[in-house]
């Protein structure tokens, strides 16, 4: 039996969560203050998942880049590949918040969406 101390990254509270693992099975999770903490701790022990945020190039807008975010967690070990995909994208203004820019990023089931709106200039 092994006990891991984790810091939940779901929100800025940063709960310190203890996970007890035996033979790859999560036996118990303690220290979390919400259900998301437990889900995080279980997933973290198997394959860490994270939200990815970045920017893509945008034409005809106030700024040169548009902030983007994955619609849900993707595996932490896929970040570099995901960034490569995101870097290929250029969008044309106008863009609305939550517009899908990349569907099903690398088969993760997560979309890359615009994290804000930007008008056409």
């Amino acid at each position: 039996m092994e006990t891991k101390e984790l810091i939940c990254v779901n929100c800025p509270m940063g709960c310190r969560v203890s996970v007890t693992i035996e033979a790859g099975e999560v036996l118990s999770v303690t220290g979390n203050s919400c259900p998301r903490g437990e889900a995080y701790a279980r997933q973290e022990s198997i394959r860490p998942m994270r939200i990815l945020t970045s920017t893509v190039k945008i034409d005809h807008a106030l700024h040169r880049v548009l902030p983007v975010i994955t619609s849900k967690d993707i595996p932490l070990d896929m970040m570099d590949a995901a960034m490569e995909e995101i870097r290929r994208v250029t969008v044309d203004a106008p863009v609305k918040m939550n517009d899908v820019l990349i569907e099903n990023l690398l088969g993760t089931g997560a979309d890359v969406i615009a994290s804000r709106s930007m008008d056409r200039i």
Partner: protein
Amino acid sequence: MKHYDAVVIGGGSAGLSAAVTLKKQGIENIIVLEKDGETGGILQQCIHNGFGLQTFKEQLSGPAYAERFIDQAAEAGVEVLTDTMVTHIGADKTIEYVNSTEGYAKIQADAIILAVGCYERSRGAVEIPGERPTGIYTAGQAQRYLNIDGYLVGKKVFILGSGDIGLIMARRMTLEGAKVYGVAELMPYSNGLPRNIKQCLEDFGIPLYLSHTVTHIYGHDRLERIEVSAVDEKRKPVPGTEMYFDVDTLLLSVGLIPENHLADEIGVVMNPRTRGPVVDENYMTSVEGIFACGNGLHVHDLVDFVTMEAARAAEGAARWLKNGSSAGRVIRTEAGSNVSYIVPGLLHTDAMPGNVEFFFRVTRPLDAGEIIVRSGEKVLRTLKKKKLMPSEMERVLLTKQQLTGLEDNLTIEVKETE
């Protein structure tokens, strides 16, 4: 001279929340003055997620959080002037500003809400010896270049200070292909949120050097190398512990300071610890009719609290506009043992408008503590809490009944417990 019931200076998270709340309170004739080309403030460059859990019960990126308030302000019909820099305010509540359409202009307000935000401590403030090459940025400046303007400021990076912006930038620059060699923190503990140590440093194998600082800068034109040394308990570099990193970029994440040039000019009383104005339970400063909120009042770690605080300041301003100043006894709040500051700083205990939430920070990390609120010897509230960190703002609520009629100053202290 154009007249407004209330003028909000700053269109970031605090200013937008204040403006929306003023409208809700029936104060219609208002305007927001914003120096940047759009509203939203610093949130627009904070493209990472984790905002809004308290306010919206979901995890938003900074720009998404900002957009909700930009939309609310637009729906409420809030008038906004962007690209407009306020150059002076008067105790008579005149406001002078400049922009490219009007040139210089002067307007009259009944009430002013300062929602001016904060600025980053710069290299000069930490006095690193050595040469003066290019390649040294504050973390927030590098963040703006990358996330708004689309330029990566360097490829080989070291970060001084473990503030949250520095940690966030360590991850962001790593994802963009830069190599981040490490983060040095002068104190024996991190100044960032624990989740950011985890997901920004540990996730990417970036070392955190606690009790270390940058002791020398090398490079003629561009930064070429830095020297990092361990420090002793008195925060003095220990000879013989020098490490060298060949980097082209040094980011500074060494603290934020409320921006108070406007308030300073008219003699608004400041709290030397927060470096923001001293305010009462209505968020009014020492100058009648001038209110303060957000990072310009004291530096927050969560935007949700900025939003909440700005709404309270706007409610205070609305009350003042309708009823005038609070009369009667005034007591002060005093930071007791292990507490560095308390906001608000003054209370009119004969005219409490409602419950008051006090914001404070501890001076050092405590594994467990008992928060004690008392007026003189009379204990009003005690609260046990685990893991108190200077980087995490604490809150304690007292009811209107508890506060009404208090005669002795209100002290908040934290007793270390087992």
